[in-house]
């Protein structure tokens, strides 16, 4: 039995200095263990939603909100960000915003959150070592976080969130500065965390990746959720283009060639689906083109 871990109840929010609302009547639930992707154009409210999920809105950002967000049975407006952070961790869009700016080394940076929790020193060392190896930053532990490259800081930011073992991890475009292979490695790690029971809410622009990883996809436009469902439901929706979102490239190239009778599926959303479907097409066509005996 899965239980509801996040409940966003008709939540609206407007930043203090803005005249338009950033989020408008957002309503959805996330079940424990789910991998949820939030997609949509820039400025649609994705990062605002992330800030709201972890309680930075309304506790840190000044503004006007309506409705409520319940995370692991706690109302985000009623508890402190610190208390919520025991349950839900956010990896910021700009990894430099994640740094404490009090640490001289990456190891100290990773110790920061553990220290605030009162984790004993010995346990801290082994935890830092374990996470650094997982995220492949063990060689950076003695370096100054401010001397790292953008991609390296992004790994450190992720590690500093994971090390606190949150039940829910909110990822706001957390691999934008990583090289293609690096971002694939990080996504594999996140997938593994998810398989081990951690609930993931991920904001992303890479539709190939969203289709591959997510259980549920929500499309957000002008602060409102306009479409939601499984990757199949969302990416096959005839309305998708209205929301400035394209399906994964695999969709169009397979849809074009799959005729009824080739296969049970008639489209692909992932690379492996696309390759195997198109291989079936090649086999079928090659057979049909053999000269009759």
């Amino acid at each position: 039995m899965t239980s509801t871990l996040i409940q966003v109840n008709h939540f609206s929010y407007r930043y203090n200095q803005e005249t338009e609302v950033a989020l408008k009547n957002v309503h959805f639930e996330v079940a424990s263990g789910e991998f949820v992707a939030i997609i949509g154009a820039n400025g649609s409210g994705k990062s605002t939603l992330c800030n709201a999920l972890v309680g930075l809105i309304p506790n840190y950002f000044v503004g006007f909100s309506e409705g409520s967000i319940i995370v692991d049975e706690k109302d985000t407006a009623a508890v402190s960000v610190g208390e919520l952070s025991q349950t839900i961790g956010l990896v910021f869009q700009n990894p430099f915003n994640q740094l404490s700016y009090t640490a001289d080394t990456v190891a100290e940076e990773l110790a920061f959150g553990l220290g605030n929790r009162g984790v004993p020193r010995e346990q801290m060392f082994s935890k830092i070592k374990e996470i650094a190896e997982l995220i492949q930053i063990d060689e950076l532990l003695d370096k100054n976080p401010l001397e790292l490259s953008g991609g390296q800081v992004q790994r450190v930011a992720l590690a500093s969130a994971i090390i606190l073992e949150p039940k829910i991890l909110v990822l706001d475009e957390c691999t934008t500065q990583l090289d293609p292979i690096g971002s694939r490695q990080i996504m594999n790690i996140i997938k593994k965390l998810n398989e081990n029971g951690i609930t993931i809410v991920m904001v992303d622009h890479d539709m190939e990746r969203v289709a591959k990883l997510a259980d549920k996809v929500y499309v957000i436009q002008h602060g409102t959720i306009v479409l939601g469902g499984t990757p199949e439901e969302v990416f096959c929706s005839p309305h998708l283009a209205e929301f400035s979102v394209n399906p994964p490239d695999y969709y169009e190239i397979t849809k074009k060639f799959i005729k009824p009778g080739y296969s049970e599926r008639d489209f692909a959303l992932t690379e492996s689906q696309a390759i195997s479907l198109l291989q079936e097409v090649i086999l079928y066509e090659d057979r049909n083109q053999k000269p009759q005996a």
């Binding site: 930043y15 200095q17 803005e18 949509g40 154009a41 820039n42 400025g43 990062s47 869009q93 700009n94 430099f96 001397e147 490259s149 953008g150 991609g151 390296q152 475009e173 934008t176 500065q177 990583l178 090289d179 293609p180 292979i181 690096g182 971002s183 694939r184 622009h205 190939e208 400035s244 979102v245 394209n246 994964p248 490239d249 695999y250 169009e252 190239i253 074009k256 060639f257 690379e271 696309a274 390759i275 198109l278 291989q279 097409v281 090649i282 066509e285 090659d286 083109q289």
Partner: protein, 270 residues
């Protein structure tokens, strides 16, 4: 303008060797993409091209003149660098002031500055945001604000450090438009990016870096058919290209249209 880079090496004070002998030449206005793994030295290399960083060894010649002969402020008139992290570049209270700052330093007339603001703010999509505080912009608007403030100075060469970070469909189209505008106006645009879909759509020349060196330099056909280089530099071809390669199609595909064409030919061959 022509930039010649001869055996460029850079060592950081901490002792790390970030560049280990770069040799290349930039000329003309065909846009260039620099790709490669994190920590390969892409940003360090780019920061040398307008004098933000100085070579530990080797030489950079701009139209025959050594970059070391002048200050970074002098070169910034000719070569603009847009930082990877916009927060490192923005410091004024409004987008308009950010846009005015560079040309004011250059001594441009009020009239000329206003004309440029009109055009550039439209090109980067911030016309309606001119009186906004840069820190109230969202992440990609901030990036366009920094690009705009460099374009305002009309440099001959402009370096964009990871402009595709976090861009949506529309943002990437806007970037493509800017890169095309620069090309058509005889300005060279050098772009560092990890977005391979964006690379194959918009760049004639690609430089692949790995561990402080240039591993390969060429067009998309040379680069993305070179499996060994790709592996070594942590680069993966765009999704469509990978599917075409897995199916062993004769020609490499970079767009959906190309793929559909190549696959149609494959299934109709006999």
């Amino acid at each position: 303008m022509k930039i010649e880079i001869k055996n460029l090496k850079h060592k950081y004070p901490s002792g790390g060797e970030a560049l280990r002998g770069i040799n290349t030449t930039f000329e003309g206005s065909n846009p260039v993409a620099i790709i490669g793994q994190n920590g390969a030295g892409k940003t360090t290399f780019a920061k040398h091209l307008n004098g933000l960083l100085r070579p530990t060894e080797g030489q950079i010649l701009i139209d025959g003149e050594s970059i070391s002969d002048h200050t970074t402020a002098y070169w910034s008139k000719y070569i603009g660098y847009v930082f990877q992290n916009p927060d490192n570049q923005l410091f004024l209270e409004t987008v308009r002031k950010e846009f005015e700052f560079g040309p004011k330093q250059q001594g441009l007339s009020r009239h000329e500055i206003n004309d440029r603001i009109e055009f550039i703010s439209d090109l980067v999509g911030l016309k309606h945001r001119l009186s906004t505080h840069p820190f109230d912009l969202n992440a990609t608007e901030k990036k366009f604000c920094t690009i705009g403030s460099i374009l305002m100075m009309d440099p001959k060469i402009i370096i964009l450090d990871e402009p595709t970070c976090g861009q949506d469909v529309e943002g990437n189209q806007r970037l493509a438009k800017i890169i095309n505008y620069l090309k058509n106006n005889d300005r060279l645009c050098i772009t560092i990016t990890h977005d391979m879909k964006f690379v194959v759509r918009n760049f004639d020349q690609i430089i692949v870096m790995s561990k402080g060196e240039i591993l390969k330099s060429g067009n998309k056909y040379n680069v993305f058919s070179d499996v060994k280089t790709l592996l070594e530099s942590h680069v993966a071809p765009p999704p469509i290209t990978r599917v075409g390669q897995a199916l062993r199609l004769k020609d490499i595909s970079f767009s959906k249209e190309e793929f559909i064409d190549h696959f149609t030919r494959r299934i109709h061959q006999s």
